[in-house]
Symmetry: C2
Subunit: 260 residues, 2 copies
């Protein structure tokens, strides 16, 4: 069993949605190994845009990549949410002290949180009452520079381990892309109102059948200076406390006034 009671270092479960080989998770693993005992459970394949998908039509398989007293790494054929469930139920047979997900190649600020596999893993852990943080870099490129993320990720992680998080709350942390100028600091934000204006790139295959590649253009609909989108644009790290209660409380009275 991985979670030995004699080990006083925190047990940290690490996952992502870009696949186990992505530079972002490699950086996150390196940072977490300074803080605690790390168990990685990540997808064999990239799973961007998987949202909160779970795998129920297909059995899940786990491969052990590394297993030492210091460090364990597993890969599986599931989604990011599956990774959390397998990590808890099959690999740890218990709860880690912390779940971190990322570092995502690309922003999960504003409406992206809804589509994000990275944040779905975080929310899944939060549902299971595990402190959880998602880290994303506002740079989609595979060979993005992650060096400037190290200090702030370590600081936020240590803070969460020290203070805990309110019940039912996890964190969505987004870090500006690397520039010559260091980011200005950390802002606690709300999720910006935004959407993706979809287009499809429609083509025909050699047999003449139409097919459609999803594309899209991000559209910010929120002028607030307290949003994650604003913070990133101003070169701040954004931290949004996230919960999984989707009730629109301020609409309850309106709907209650309806008669059926």
């Amino acid at each position: 069993m991985s979670n030995q009671t004699t080990d006083v270092r925190p047990l940290i479960l690490v996952t992502n949605d870009d696949g186990y080989f992505a530079p972002g998770i490699r950086k996150l693993i390196a940072i977490m190994r300074k803080i605690g005992k790390v168990i990685v459970v990540a997808g064999e394949q990239p799973m961007s845009g998987m949202g909160h998908a779970i795998t129920i039509k297909m059995p899940l398989r786990i491969k052990t990549v590394t297993k030492t007293d210091e460090y364990e790494e597993y890969i599986c054929n599931g989604t990011p949410v599956d990774c959390v469930k397998l990590g808890e139920q099959i690999i740890l047979n218990g709860k880690p002290d912390l779940l971190v997900s990322g570092i995502n190649h690309g922003s999960n600020a504003s409406i992206n949180v809804i589509y994000s596999g990275t944040m779905a893993a975080v929310i899944e852990a939060c549902i299971d009452q595990i402190p959880a943080i998602g880290f994303s870099l506002d740079d989609y490129s595979y060979d993005a520079n992650f060096d400037h993320t190290e200090q702030v990720i370590e600081a936020i992680t240590r803070k969460v381990l020290e203070e805990g998080l309110p019940e039912g709350v996890c964190l969505n942390v987004n870090i500006p892309a690397y520039t010559a100028e260091p980011f200005k600091g950390v802002r606690i934000c709300r999720q910006a109102r935004a959407r993706w204006v979809e287009g499809f790139d429609s083509r025909h295959d050699p047999r003449g059948s139409a097919y459609h590649w999803m594309t899209g253009r991000f559209e910010n609909l929120d002028n607030g200076e307290d949003t994650d989108h604003w913070a990133l644009e101003q070169n701040y790290v954004s931290v949004v406390p996230v919960h999984f209660d989707l009730t629109a409380y301020n609409a309850l009275e309106t709907i209650k006034a309806w008669e059926f």
Copy 2:
């Protein structure tokens, strides 16, 4: 183009996550055809548990099943969220007056809303400022009785078309399973706090390799009498106003007090 300005009946886009052939969507189509012009865009395959997944690694294809002045039906190889995007961008080239999703075979009350493809389609439409309602029956069986759902679905749909919905709000409607006793009425609720306690059913294939089927047991963690879970248990239809702002506003001050 489907949305002719001379047609005064509302244009209703219908989707689901159980596949185009499921009895639940067949019932929903029949109800909606009494109210407006119906365009169906549904998956070829069941997509339960897909959450807010979108398809970005594979091109999407659409097949036309029916296309008349009165009614159009299309199937595609995508997720429920893809169906909404394809419906708007490729098929309608514009917005419908309403999006309805379901009738789901199984409850999407409480934490199920997070995993639900049915509700993801509704939330996607809501992000795009289309009034949207998800309908689910608290009965997972394929040959569930949907007859008792007809009147309440029609009433709620007509109400939404008449009154509209507050900006950024959609509805999650759950209907008790059929029993001899009719349901007691409609309750406007909040999402119950609950979770799935996962197990995996672990087996070995004929070559000796382990594989894991996801299973789970629903655990209600909420004793409130204002929740969707409570309403269903008491034989009421539950209606939860849902939004896509995941910010945990009541945690903002706590996190702001942290120093980095």
